[in-house]
């Protein structure tokens, strides 16, 4: 576990790219980490685009934190963590979807479902009497097995295909719900489908990168990509590219520096986002012309 161990290698960083890369991929665990991390970053980049577009950041954060209850609950029940994660995240998504029509950050339902589930997670942690909370929260990307890599890759492929198939109705109902409804898109179903896709994504990503980083990979690359391009396919592509880049660099740096990859990924993601905003991208200047999160319309209370 990375939280306890020191640096992973005794070989110092040489600044010779060929030597350093071959050193990086010497060990099987680093190769597995790169494969699983890449698959996670791709699926998070795709799903994250809709998270940002629909203003689902809070729901994404909550579902990834709820994974804590899924993982600890699976430990109590003695089942595979992924089963527990899928069950708890799926149930959480359905509950949020049932209680709130468009669960935005101002919505109390998300927070209440989140804390209720986390409380349960605490109970499971106590009941299982096994291990600590932190590995679940932080993830263990450097300790995953070859089987887990296959599962993550397969699940990521399924989710990406699902989003690709439903891309147009999802996009339309996210950008303009009324127009989508008029064109016969089942917007309520799309909203629920997206929450379930989000739940599946967090369930798959959590054992790999932990509940904290799952959220970061969902929101940060997509947020930056949406600033750069208003064209949906391009923004999704950029979002994937940024997520993969952060993950690769984060994993690489953590090989030589005694810190979990999540620290580098979140730091980089934030700096790039702020830098992009400060630079003032075409999509920012064009403003309303690009499909942006239609969040303003819900601002009738505050």
């Amino acid at each position: 576990m990375r939280l306890i161990a020191g640096t992973l290698t005794d070989v110092p960083f040489s600044w010779n790219p060929v030597d350093d890369l071959s050193q990086l991929f010497t060990y099987q665990f680093m190769r597995s980490a790169y494969l699983a991390g890449t698959a996670t970053a791709i699926v998070a980049g795709v799903v994250g685009y809709f998270v940002v577009l629909r203003g689902l950041s809070f729901a994404g954060h909550s579902l990834s934190l709820m994974g804590f209850a899924g993982a600890t609950g699976a430990r109590v029940a003695g089942v595979d963590p992924l089963a527990g994660l899928l069950l708890v995240d799926g149930a959480g998504a359905l509950l949020i979807g049932a209680l709130a029509r468009r669960p935005r950050g101002r919505d109390v339902v998300v927070g209440i479902v989140l804390t209720g589930t986390l409380g349960l997670g605490l109970l499971f942690l106590r009941l299982s009497r096994a291990g600590e909370a932190l590995p679940v929260l932080v993830g263990d990307v450097l300790g995953i097995s070859a089987t887990e890599v296959t599962i993550v890759e397969a699940a990521a492929a399924v989710i990406v295909v699902l989003v690709a198939v439903a891309f147009r109705p999802l996009l339309l109902s996210s950008v303009d719900e009324e127009v989508a409804e008029a064109r016969g898109v089942p917007t309520r179903a799309m909203s629920l489908l997206l929450l379930l896709i989000l739940a599946a994504t967090t369930a798959v990503a959590t054992p790999v990168v932990g509940v904290l980083l799952t959220f970061s990979l969902l929101v940060a690359p997509a947020a930056t990509a949406s600033l750069i391009s208003g064209r949906p396919p391009l923004a999704v592509g950029l979002s994937i590219a940024l997520g993969v880049l952060y993950t690769w660099i984060g994993l690489g740096v953590s090989y030589w520096v005694d810190m979990p990859p999540s620290v580098f990924v979140t730091g980089m993601a934030f700096v790039v986002y702020v830098g992009t905003r400060a630079a003032g991208t075409p999509a920012l200047r064009r403003g309303a012309a690009a499909p942006r999160p239609a969040t303003v319309s819900s601002d009738f209370v505050g």
Binding site: L99, V110, T115, G119
Partner: protein, 295 residues
Amino acid sequence: MSRSHLTWNLVDDWQQLVHYEFMRHALLAGGIAAVLCGAVGCFVVLRGLSFATDTLTHVGFAGASGAVVIGLSPVAGLLCLTALMAVVLGALEQRLRGRDVVIGMILVLTLGLGLFFLRLYRGYSNEAYALLFGSILALGPRDVVVVAVGALIALAALVAIFRPLLFASLDEELAEARGVPVRAVATAYLLVLAVAVTAATQVIGALLAVALLIAPAATAQRLTTRPVAWLLLSVAIALAVTWTGLALAFWQPYPASFFITSLSTLTYLAARLVTAGGVLSRLRPVMRPAAAVEG
């Protein structure tokens, strides 16, 4: 937790409950935090600050673990960083309206920072657990005093800004036109919220603090529409779930934070069921707004 058993004789049970000093501390600190959170929470709900509040709790975790790394008290770090973030959120507030992704990015940074401090902070295990999930039964007299003094100051501030805050929360433009200093009031409120987050983190931990800040106020909102009644009901619910949770944790071998969050959630769900039933019985189905109130 206790060698004594629940007798269902309320006097005996109460005496058992307050027999130990740690329970007296917990009931006192928990009670104070609950009153503050119940009151502050009404404006979290009214101003739509759920996600911002959740982010503040994570900021608090980063602050507390950072303070430990540089050798300060966790409460000091918690309070400093949440207050700082409150000022930042106050400055950004108008631009943050409905832009969840900006809060999300602040949260991304915060999570990374918290993890960074956690990593630096080698003897992390117990302290980090206590920060994340609360350690109310381990509060010392000094912690109780810190929570109490902070909460009393915050409550006094909330009372002082109550009227302009309510006005600004209900109709910001009208309030501004009438000369209410909307920005200043919003920032003052966010500072009060920072103190409430600190108090709640002491009681049920950073990950669960949102429960006391959102659920009682959201529950009370479903049961009444008058502002003062709403506030008082929210305080009463927060106090009831906190003390009941503590009592349950005294007799049952499970964490107090679990009972407090579960009771908060269940109260909210029950209130929703009751009010949904009420609406259904009074209105014809056609007239029922499709749950748009929350959405």
